[in-house]
C-alpha cells in the first residue's frame, strides 16, 4: 500500500513469521483484542473461515443468519462495550448485505470493522461470480475503506482499519480482501497504527474557546444543555454530571445521548426532539444560552431550523469540525474530545443555581405528565399501552437493563420511558432509523456485556425484518429478553397516515404470524399476554429467567406517540395531542 504514509518506529526490528494472508488476518484481529465477531461464510472468504476454524479457541465467530444481522450484532457489541465491533462476509451479496449496517454505523458513529472477501485479483473487473464493487458501493457509508490485493498489505491495512474505526469520531471501516491475498504466504509482523499523516482524529482544544464558553455559561440567566452521544463516545459522563451540577443547568438529551446521565438526576429534564419531552423542546426557544455537547443538530432534534433557538447564544462542544455551523450557527465552537474540553471548562465554571428557570421545566413536565405520561404509563383504559410495559421493565430491572430498541412508535416510547442508571444502556438506531436493528443488536449487546441484562424492545414490523436471528439466540443460548410490542400495525407510519394523510392507511396493517410458535420453534421460552393483570408477573418472570425469553405483548392498536413536533414544524409547535 505505497500511498499510505504513516509514522513508523523501529519497523526494522520486527520479528516476522511466514504465514498465509488468511492466517495473518486472524493474527491482526487477535492483536487488536477482538474476541467475538459476527459473520457468514461464502466462496471468496473461505480461506479466512478455514483459519477461524483453527483459531476457534481464541476467537469466537457467531454465524448470524443474514449478513445484515452480523453488522447490527457488531454494532450492539460495540455500543455497549466501547470496543470495535467486527463483521465478516463473503463477496457479492454477502458484501452488499452489509450496507445497511455500515450506513447505520456511519450515521450513529459506531466503531466497526467489516471484512469482505473479494474475487481473486486476476478476476477483478471481469464480472466474475459473486464479484461486486463493494468499495464503490460502501464509500459513502464508511469512514474509510480499502481493497487489499496483496497479502503483504494485510497487517498495515488492518492496523489502520482498527485505528480509524475507533479514533476521533468513530465509524465503520470496510476492508475488502481479494482471495489471492488470503491464500498467498508472506512475512507477517504486526504493529498497531497510532497515526495517519492526513488524519487528525481529535482537534486540540483551544483555551480561548473554552474561556469564551465559560464566560457565556457564567453570565447566562437561562442556560440549557443538550447533550448527545459524543458524551458517551468521549467517556465524559462524569464531566457532564459535574458541569450540570456545578453550574446548576437543566440538561436534556438526544436519543443517542440517553443514559449518559442518570434518568433520575434532578437536572436531567428529559429528551429533545420530535417525540421528546414537552419542556426541553419548548425551552429550547426560551433559553438564553444553548450548550450543545457532542450532538449534531439532526432535523429530528431541531425541527424547523429557521425557528430553532434563534434567541439564544449557542456553544457547540464537538469532536468533528465538519459539524460546526453545519445546521445551527455556533457562537462559540469548542473543538475536541468532550472529556478533555469539559474537563478544561469545569475549573472556569462558577457555582450557580437557576431555580426559577429550572422550575419552568418542572411546570412543563407537569403539563406533559397530566396530559400524556400518566395515560401512557398508568393507563386506565382496557388495552395495554407500550408505556406501561416499559415502566414494568424499569421496575423489574431496577433501571439497570440495557434497552435495545428497534425503530418506530415502540422506540420512541422506550426512549421516553426507559429509566437508566448506567451509561451505554440505550442501544437504538438513531440516525438511520433501521427497522430490524434491535434483535441482532441485542445479541451483540448481550455478548458485549454478559454481566448486564439486555432487553430488546421491538415492534411487530421491525421484528420480522431480522427475525431469522432467533437462530443465533437458539444456537448459542444468548440470554436476551425479547419483548415484541404488537399493535398489528406499522404504528409510526399509521400514526402519520392518521395525522397527515387523512387516515388513508396504505399498507400499514400487519397480518402477523403466531410469534410465540415461531419462538418455540427455536426452543425459546415464549409467552403472549394481552391483559394488564398478567403484565407485572410475566415481566418479573422474564427478568428472573437466566435463559433467552420471548414475550409478545398485545398492545392497543391505534395509540399514538405524543408529544410530537410535526415534520418541518418548530420545536415551539410541539403538540400534546
Amino acid at each position: 500500500m505505497k500511498t499510505v504514509k504513516e509514522k513508523k518506529k523501529g519497523t526494522d526490528s520486527k520479528k516476522t513469521i511466514k504465514i498465509s494472508g488468511a492466517e495473518a488476518i486472524i493474527h491482526c484481529l487477535l492483536a487488536e483484542g477482538v474476541e467475538t465477531m459476527y459473520g457468514y461464510p461464502g466462496g471468496a472468504i473461505m480461506p479466512v473461515y478455514d483459519e477461524l476454524y483453527k483459531f476457534q479457541d481464541k476467537l469466537t465467530h457467531i454465524l448470524t443468519r443474514h449478513e445484515q444481522g452480523a453488522t447490527h450484532a457488531a454494532q450492539g457489541y460495540a455500543r455497549v462495550s466501547g470496543k470495535v465491533g467486527v463483521a465478516i462476509a463473503t463477496s457479492g451479496p454477502g458484501a452488499t448485505n452489509l450496507v445497511t449496517g455500515l450506513a447505520d454505523a456511519q450515521i450513529d458513529s459506531t466503531p466497526m470493522v467489516c471484512i469482505t472477501g473479494q474475487v481473486t485479483r486476476q478476476l477483478l473487473g471481469t464480472d466474475a461470480f459473486q464479484e461486486t464493487d463493494i468499495i464503490g458501493i460502501s464509500t459513502p457509508v464508511t469512514k474509510w475503506n480499502y481493497q487489499i490485493t496483496e497479502a503483504s498489505e494485510i497487517p498495515e491495512v488492518m492496523a489502520k482499519a482498527f485505528y480509524i474505526a475507533k479514533s476521533g469520531r468513530p465509524g465503520p471501516v470496510l476492508v475488502d480482501i481479494t482471495k489471492n491475498a488470503q491464500i498467498d504466504a508472506f512475512d507477517f509482523a504486526y504493529e498497531k497504527c497510532t497515526a495517519v499523516r492526513s488524519y487528525k482524529p481529535v482537534p486540540k482544544p483551544k483555551m480561548s474557546a473554552i474561556e469564551a464558553a465559560a464566560d457565556l455559561i457564567n453570565s447566562a440567566k437561562k442556560p440549557f444543555i443538550v447533550w448527545g452521544q459524543g458524551v458517551i463516545l468521549g467517556q465524559a459522563e462524569q464531566e457532564l454530571k459535574d458541569l450540570v451540577e456545578k453550574a446548576g443547568i437543566p440538561a436534556a438529551w438526544t436519543i443517542m445521548g440517553a443514559s449518559a446521565l442518570d434518568t433520575a438526576h434532578p437536572l436531567n429534564v428529559g429528551m429533545v426532539g420530535m417525540h421528546g419531552n414537552y419542556g426541553p423542546n419548548l425551552m429550547t426557544n426560551e433559553c438564553d444560552l444553548l450548550i450543545a455537547i457532542g450532538m449534531r443538530f439532526d432535523d429530528r432534534v431541531t425541527g424547523r431550523l429557521e425557528d430553532y433557538a434563534k434567541q439564544a447564544k449557542v456553544i457547540h462542544f464537538e469532536i468533528d469540525p465538519a459539524e460546526i455551523n453545519k445546521n445551527v450557527h455556533a457562537d462559540v465552537a469548542v473543538l475536541g474530545n468532550s472529556k478533555d474540553t469539559l474537563g478544561l471548562l469545569l475549573p472556569l465554571i462558577k457555582e450557580n443555581k437557576h431555580e426559577a428557570w429550572h422550575n419552568g421545566f418542572k411546570e412543563k413536565y407537569k403539563i406533559e405528565f397530566d396530559t400524556i405520561i400518566k395515560n401512557d404509563i398508568h393507563p386506565t383504559k382496557a388495552g395495554l399501552t407500550m408505556g406501561e410495559v416499559i415502566e414494568e421493565i424499569n421496575l423489574a430491572s431496577n433501571n439497570k437493563a440495557v434497552i435495545v430498541s428497534d425503530v418506530g412508535q415502540h422506540q420512541m416510547i422506550a426512549c421516553r420511558y426507559a429509566k437508566f442508571s448506567q451509561s451505554k444502556s440505550n442501544i437504538t438506531s438513531g440516525g438511520l432509523g433501521t427497522m430490524g436493528f434491535a434483535l441482532p443488536a441485542a445479541i451483540g449487546a448481550k455478548m458485549g456485556a454478559m454481566d448486564r441484562e439486555v432487553v430488546a424492545i421491538i415492534g411487530d414490523g421491525g421484528y420480522q425484518m431480522t427475525i431469522q436471528e432467533l437462530g443465533v439466540i437458539f444456537q448459542h443460548k444468548v440470554p436476551v429478553k425479547i419483548v415484541v410490542l404488537n399493535n398489528e400495525h406499522l404504528g409510526m407510519v399509521r400514526q402519520w397516515q392518521e395525522l397527515f394523510f387523512e387516515k388513508r392507511y396504505a399498507s400499514t396493517v400487519m397480518v402477523n404470524p403466531d410469534f410465540v410458535k415461531i419462538a418455540e420453534g427455536y426452543s425459546i421460552e415464549a409467552k403472549r399476554i394481552s391483559e394488564r393483570k398478567d403484565l407485572k408477573s410475566t415481566i418479573q418472570e422474564m427478568m428472573a429467567s437466566k435463559e433467552p425469553y420471548f414475550l409478545e405483548v398485545k398492545v392497543e392498536q391505534e395509540d399514538n406517540v405524543f408529544p410530537m413536533i410535526p415534520s418541518g414544524a418548530s420545536v415551539s409547535e410541539v403538540r400534546l395531542k
Partner: protein, 172 residues
C-alpha cells in the same frame, strides 16, 4: 443565500478511490461539479484536486468540511473567483487548408494570444489558455470556419493569499 462560483482546493494523498469519495460528497448534496482537475501539488507526494462548483457559501462550507474529514485528505479550502488566479486550457484542431485559405484565422490566433502547437498535412492544433469566457470567445470566432475537435481542461488556480498547507504538513 445566492449561488456563486467557488474554487475548492483539496490537498490529499494519491490513493485509489479518493476521487469517488470526494465526488460522492457532491452527489449526496445534488450539487454539480462544474470542473475538476487533479495534479501534483507544490509538495512532494501530495495531490491537489481543483474543483469548481456553483453553489451557496453555506453549501461550499459544508462540502469542504466533509471533504476535509476524509481520511486521506490533508486539507481543503474554498475561494471565490476574486481570491484566486485561475485559468483553463483549450485545444482546437482545425483543418490545415484553412490556415492558408482563411487569412482571418491567423488574426484570430494572434488576437487571442493563442499558440499553434503542431501543424501537419491534414490539420493543425491551436492551444489557448485563459479565462473561460476568453476561450469561449475564441471558440465562437473559429466556429464558422469549422472546428474538427475541441477540448477544454478543468480550471486550475492558485490563491492570491498564502495557502499555508506547507506549514500544516510540517506538523506531521
Amino acid at each position: 443565500m445566492e449561488n456563486k462560483w467557488f474554487t475548492i482546493s483539496v490537498y490529499s494523498e494519491n490513493n485509489v478511490g479518493l476521487l469517488n469519495r470526494i465526488s460522492g460528497i457532491f452527489l449526496k448534496r445534488h450539487i454539480n461539479i462544474e470542473s475538476l482537475n487533479v495534479s501534483k501539488s507544490e509538495i512532494d507526494d501530495v495531490s491537489k484536486f481543483t474543483i469548481v462548483a456553483h453553489t451557496t457559501e453555506k453549501w461550499v462550507h459544508n462540502i469542504v468540511g466533509q471533504i476535509e474529514k476524509q481520511i486521506e485528505v490533508i486539507k481543503a479550502y474554498y475561494h471565490t473567483d476574486d481570491e484566486t488566479i485561475y485559468q483553463e486550457s483549450a485545444l482546437f484542431k482545425i483543418a490545415s487548408g484553412l490556415l492558408f485559405d482563411e487569412r482571418q484565422i491567423q488574426n484570430i490566433i494572434k488576437d487571442n494570444n493563442a499558440q499553434i502547437v503542431t501543424v501537419s498535412r491534414d490539420f493543425f492544433v491551436i492551444a489557448k489558455s485563459g479565462r473561460r469566457n476568453e476561450i469561449d470567445e475564441m471558440h465562437d470566432q473559429l466556429k464558422p470556419y469549422g472546428i474538427m475537435q475541441f477540448v477544454r481542461s478543468g480550471r486550475i488556480s492558485v490563491t492570491k493569499d498564502e495557502m499555508k498547507i506547507s506549514a500544516i504538513l510540517k506538523e506531521f
